[in-house]
Subunit: 199 residues, 2 copies
């Protein structure tokens, strides 16, 4: 890709490494930014510098914010004894968009994976057990992805919490709202059938 | 999207406006950047500032570079009397990757469009006619996209050059290398058939 000058090529290569972008879309994005550089490129660079300075992970739950303790952990209102365990900050944001959960979160930062050599101490599992012991928690809701690694991690956490007073629950599995049976995989359909309830 | 702090939300919104990214992929990209902010976010912001300062459009052809006259226009070697007319800098880069063209370029910066109110003076068409008159050009190759607007623009330019000594050509249309007939649209197949040549 030697057709653009070094500076620009360099920017394209960095953009191409972002999740969701490839070399072609990175080129398009960079050309778009250059065309409107006063309006878009400089403000975007400034916004990135700003976030690079201000962003930090919550020391308590792992959420991304601009303070050492995130807004949710700092809010008295959210301390209702429920902790929702998610893999990733994106999952936390998705839950918050749903506006259905009023407790606090715990972001693991990944899942256990024998293949990638990720053990409990690489995630925030010890910190979760600490919180359960000290924060007056009465329910841990496992909102992990319905993948093999996600479910392995859920089982591991449930095991660690066995023998405590804490209720361990997980998100219901079934047909998504607006979902069409014809487009659902067999696993989802059979899980929804098993968990059927009176109408 | 009030689940992230203002600074981060702001960055996500700006990223989401880039071509090829939407709100969801912008969120993923920003979280990825925050997770590796020393390694990725700060260098990316620096690279953007660098390009915002250094990037400029070639005064002659409209190519994007870091000098007032781009490398291609400045190179004696490329002054072979051929000008390849493209819609966009991305098209110029695509031609350069092909390494098949040894002349200079002219980037229109779009296509004529009655609907969007884009006339010849909004593109670099007057500048093209100037160059043809003064740069010792003997061939203008119209490498415009095979869309309605692209072809309208090609016809308009060809008309403007009528009566001059300059040969006006366009890229051949036909079956792409490695293309399978079954996957080609009818227009391409019939164009390729009309332009068939002895084997």
């Amino acid at each position: 890709m030697s057709e653009a000058p070094r500076d620009i090529e360099n920017l394209i290569e960095m953009m191409a490494k972002l999740p969701g972008l490839g070399p072609r879309s990175a080129r398009r994005a960079v050309l778009h930014l250059i065309r409107k550089r006063a309006l878009l490129l400089t403000p975007l660079a400034d916004a990135m510098h700003q976030v690079a300075i201000s962003a930090r992970e919550c020391l308590n739950c792992g959420n991304v914010g601009v303070t050492d303790i995130c807004e949710i952990c700092a809010s008295e209102k959210r301390g209702n004894g429920q902790i929702c365990v998610v893999e990733d900050v994106a999952d936390l944001w998705a839950m918050e968009r749903g506006k259905a959960f009023a407790g606090r979160y715990h972001v693991l930062g990944g899942t256990l994976s024998a293949l990638d050599n990720v053990g409990p101490e690489d995630l925030r599992i010890p910190r979760l057990l600490d919180r359960v012991a000290t924060e007056g928690v009465n329910e841990v809701i496992l909102a992990l992805n319905a993948t093999v690694d996600g479910q392995t991690t859920a089982h591991y956490i449930a095991e660690q919490l066995e023998g405590t007073e804490v209720a361990v629950t997980s998100l219901a599995q079934g047909v998504p709202i607006g979902g069409e049976l014809d487009y659902l995989d067999d696993g989802t359909i059979s899980a929804a059938l098993k968990a059927r309830k009176s109408f």
